[in-house]
C-alpha cells in the first residue's frame, strides 16, 4: 500500500485510475494498453510538475514520507546484505533508535551507524521514532572507536526528529553523550562521511554528524530545530510551520549555499521513496568515490582539515 502526502494527491488520482482500468481490462479482456500508456505519461508529467517547484515545507514532508527508505534499507542495499549488526553501548542497554555495524561496501569493510525509524506503528514505537537516548550516542561512539582501531572508514546515516527528551535521557546525560560524540568524531583518525537521508534535527543529528564530508539527500532537511517547534517558539503556534521552514533555510540547496554541508545527492524526480534502487545506487557511488579520495590523505592532515572546516563556519561582523 502506497502512501501519499497531501500535495501528492494528483498522483494518487492517476494511480487509482490506472488501477481501475487494469481491473476492467482483466475482467472484460478488452485491451487497454493504450489508455494505460497515456495515463502513465500523464502521471510522469504530473510528478514532474509537482517536484520541479517544491517548497521547503514540502521537502520537510518528503523527508518524513512513510515510504522513504530508512537507515537499515540503505545499509542492506549498499552492502548487498553483507552486514553484521552490532549492539549495545556496553554500559546501560542497546538503543533500538541507533543501529550500526560492519558492512562490506564494494569489497571493503565500512562501519555504518545511523538512526533508525520504524515502518509501522509497532516498529515506530520499538525504534522510539528514531529518537536516540544517551546510550544510542554512546553505542555510536563505541562503534566509531572500534572502526578507528582497525582503520575502517565510517559512514553515518542521519534520520532523526531529535534526541529523545525523556526523564531517563536527562538522568543519563543526553547532553554529555551528544557533546562527547561531537568532540570525539572531530578527532577520529579514519575517514568519516555523514549522509543526511531524512530528518536532521539539531543536536540529535549532529551527535553523529561530524565528518570529512557531510552530505544531504536532496529532499532531506537539517537545522537547529524542526519547523513546527520553531513556529511554536517564535509565533506561539504550530500554524506557521511553513514560514518557519522558509526562514530556517533548512533545505539541501540552502545548506550547501551556507557551506554547512559539502554536497547534495540528487534524488530522482518523484523522490527517494518512488525510486529506492536509484537512490541506493547514487549514495553507493558517492560513498565509494569519496571514501577512496579521503583514504588517500594522511590521517593527521585529514583530521586537521576536518577541524578547519568546522572552525570556518559562522558569519559575523566587526573585529
Amino acid at each position: 500500500m502506497e502512501n501519499y502526502l497531501a500535495f501528492e494527491e494528483p498522483i494518487k488520482v492517476i494511480d487509482d485510475e490506472i488501477l481501475k482500468v487494469r481491473e476492467v481490462e482483466e475482467n472484460s479482456g478488452v485491451d487497454s494498453s493504450k489508455l494505460i500508456k497515456d495515463l502513465e505519461k500523464k502521471k510522469t508529467q504530473t510528478i514532474k510538475d509537482i517536484f520541479k517547484a517544491l517548497t521547503p515545507w514540502q521537502r520537510v514532508q518528503l523527508s518524513r514520507h512513510p515510504d522513504r527508505p530508512y537507515s537499515l534499507d540503505y545499509i542492506n542495499a549498499l552492502t548487498e546484505g553483507n552486514f553484521v549488526e552490532l549492539h549495545g553501548d556496553r554500559n546501560v542497554k542497546d538503543d533500538k533508535a541507533m543501529v550500526g555495524g560492519f558492512g562490506q561496501l564494494n569489497g571493503k569493510t565500512v562501519m555504518f551507524v545511523g538512526q533508525q525509524k520504524g515502518i509501522n506503528t509497532k516498529m515506530r514505537q520499538f525504534r522510539n521514532f528514531g529518537m536516540p537516548n544517551p546510550e544510542g550516542y554512546r553505542k555510536a561512539l563505541r562503534l566509531f572507536k572500534l572502526a578507528e582501531k582497525f582503520n575502517i572508514p565510517i559512514v553515518t546515516l542521519i534520520d532523526t526528529p531529535g534526541a529523545f527528551p525523556g526523564l531517563e535521557a536527562e538522568e543519563r546525560g543526553q547532553g554529555e553523550a551528544i557533546a562527547r560524540n561531537i568532540y570525539e568524531m572531530m578527532r577520529l583518525k579514519v575517514p568519516v562521511i555523514c549522509v543526511i537521508i531524512g530528518e536532521g534535527a539539531s543536536g540529535g543529528a549532529l551527535g553523529i554528524g561530524v565528518g570529512d564530508k557531510v552530505v544531504m539527500l536532496e529532499n532531506s532537511w537539517y537545522s537547529v530545530i524542526s519547523p513546527e517547534n520553531c513556529s511554536t517558539i517564535l509565533w506561539r503556534s504550530w500554524d506557521y510551520k511553513e514560514q518557519a521552514a522558509d526562514a530556517l533555510k533548512l533545505t539541501s540547496t540552502d545548506m550547501k549555499g551556507l557551506k554547512i554541508v559539502d554536497d547534495v545527492i540528487k534524488e530522482p524526480i518523484g523522490g527517494a521513496h518512488r525510486h529506492r534502487e536509484e537512490i541506493f545506487a547514487s549514495v553507493k557511488d558517492y560513498l565509494i568515490k569519496n571514501i577512496e579520495r579521503l583514504q588517500k590523505l594522511d590521517p593527521e592532515k585529514r583530521t586537521a582539515k576536518r577541524h578547519e572546516k568546522f572552525i570556518e563556519m559562522g558569519e559575523y561582523k566587526g573585529r
Binding site: P165, Q174, A179, I182, M186, M313
Partner: protein, 281 residues
C-alpha cells in the same frame, strides 16, 4: 459583624512629609522573599544570606569576582551578528539584535577576557543571559574560538562560564554548527595540553549543554543551577507526569555523575585558583 476594630487611625503622614524611596535600593530574594539592601546584597556577591539563592550574574560581575583586583583585558570586543539567513519572524533579526544591544549595552551574549586569578593567568569566556537568552550563535562561537587561540598563545588554561538557553534560532544551521566549531577548538586546546574548566551556571540548557559545557576537563556548577539538555517543560510534556523534586538541578546532575563539584559563589575564586595550581602538577 466585625471581630476586630482599628484602635488607631491609618496612615497619618501628610503627603508633604512623605519620604521617597529610590528605586533599586532594596533587593527582594525571589525564593525566600527576604528583603536586603542592594549594597549588602552586592557585598554578599549577589547571594541571598537567608536561603543561599544565587542571583544570575553578568559577564562583568563574574570577571570582577574572578580576576585579581578586577584587572583584565577583554578581547574580540567588536564582534557582532551578521544576518546570513535574512531571518525574519515577528521582527527582522538585525532589528532584534540592535534593540537588544541598546537595551543591554552589550554587543552579544558573551565576553572574553584574560587576566590573573590568584596570580595564575586565565582566559575566561562568560555569557550574558539577558542578551537573547545567552544564545549560541556565530558571534559566540567565534569569540570562544579566539579565546582558545589566546589561551594557546599565552599557554594558559581556559574557562567558559555558561549561562544559556541554547542555540540561537535566528541563525539556524549556522548556530548548530557552532557546537561543532567550539568542539574543534577545544580539541586543539587539548592537543596543546591546556586545561579547560567548564563552569555551568543557571541556566545551562540545549545546544550549550550538548556541546562545550559538558566537555570540561572539570565541569563545575553553582548551587541549584538548572542544567539540562531538554528543558523541564519539554521533558514534562514528553513523559506526561510531574518531574521529581530537584530534577535537572546542579545537585541532581552532580549525583548522576556529570559534574565534578558544586561551588558556592563566595568560594569560587579560591576554588578556581586552587584548581589552576593542581593542573600545573
Amino acid at each position: 459583624m466585625v471581630w476586630f476594630k482599628r484602635s488607631k487611625d491609618g496612615i497619618t503622614t501628610s503627603t508633604a512629609d512623605k519620604k521617597e524611596t529610590p528605586e533599586g535600593l532594596w533587593y527582594k530574594c525571589p525564593t525566600c522573599k527576604t528583603v536586603i539592601s542592594r549594597d549588602d546584597h552586592a557585598e554578599n556577591l549577589y547571594v541571598c544570606a537567608t536561603c543561599n539563592h544565587h542571583e544570575r550574574l553578568s559577564s562583568d560581575e563574574y570577571f570582577a569576582i574572578l580576576f585579581d583586583e578586577d584587572k583584565y583585558t577583554e578581547i574580540a570586543k567588536g564582534l557582532y551578528s551578521a544576518d546570513p539567513l535574512k531571518f525574519n519572524d515577528t521582527k527582522p533579526y538585525p532589528a532584534r539584535v540592535k534593540a537588544t544591544q541598546e537595551k543591554t549595552g552589550l554587543k552579544d551574549a558573551i565576553k572574553v577576557a584574560h587576566g590573573k586569578v590568584n596570580g595564575e593567568t586565565l582566559v575566561v569566556a562568560a555569557m550574558d543571559f539577558k542578551f537573547i537568552g545567552g544564545s549560541l550563535g556565530s558571534v559566540m562561537g567565534e569569540k570562544i574560538a579566539r579565546g582558545i587561540d589566546k589561551a594557546i598563545a599565552l599557554k594558559s588554561p581556559f574557562m567558559i562560564i555558561s549561562k544559556s538557553g541554547g542555540a540561537r534560532m535566528m541563525e539556524a544551521g549556522l548556530s548548530l554548527m557552532q557546537m561543532a566549531k567550539v568542539s574543534a577548538k577545544l580539541s586543539q586546546l587539548s592537543d596543546a595540553k591546556l586545561p579547560y574548566i567548564s563552569f555551568l551556571t543557571d541556566p545551562t540548557t540545549g545546544g550549550v549543554t550538548a556541546s562545550f559545557a559538558m566537555l570540561g576537563d572539570i565541569n563545575i556548577s553553582e548551587p541549584n543551577a538548572l542544567i539540562a539538555f531538554a528543558g523541564p517543560r519539554i521533558v514534562k510534556e514528553t513523559i506526561g507526569r510531574d518531574l521529581p523534586k530537584g530534577f535537572q538541578k546542579a545537585e541532581f546532575v552532580l549525583e548522576h555523575g556529570f559534574l565534578d563539584f558544586i561551588v558556592e559563589r563566595k568560594d569560587l575564586k579560591e576554588k578556581i585558583g586552587q584548581s589552576l595550581v593542581m593542573f600545573k602538577g
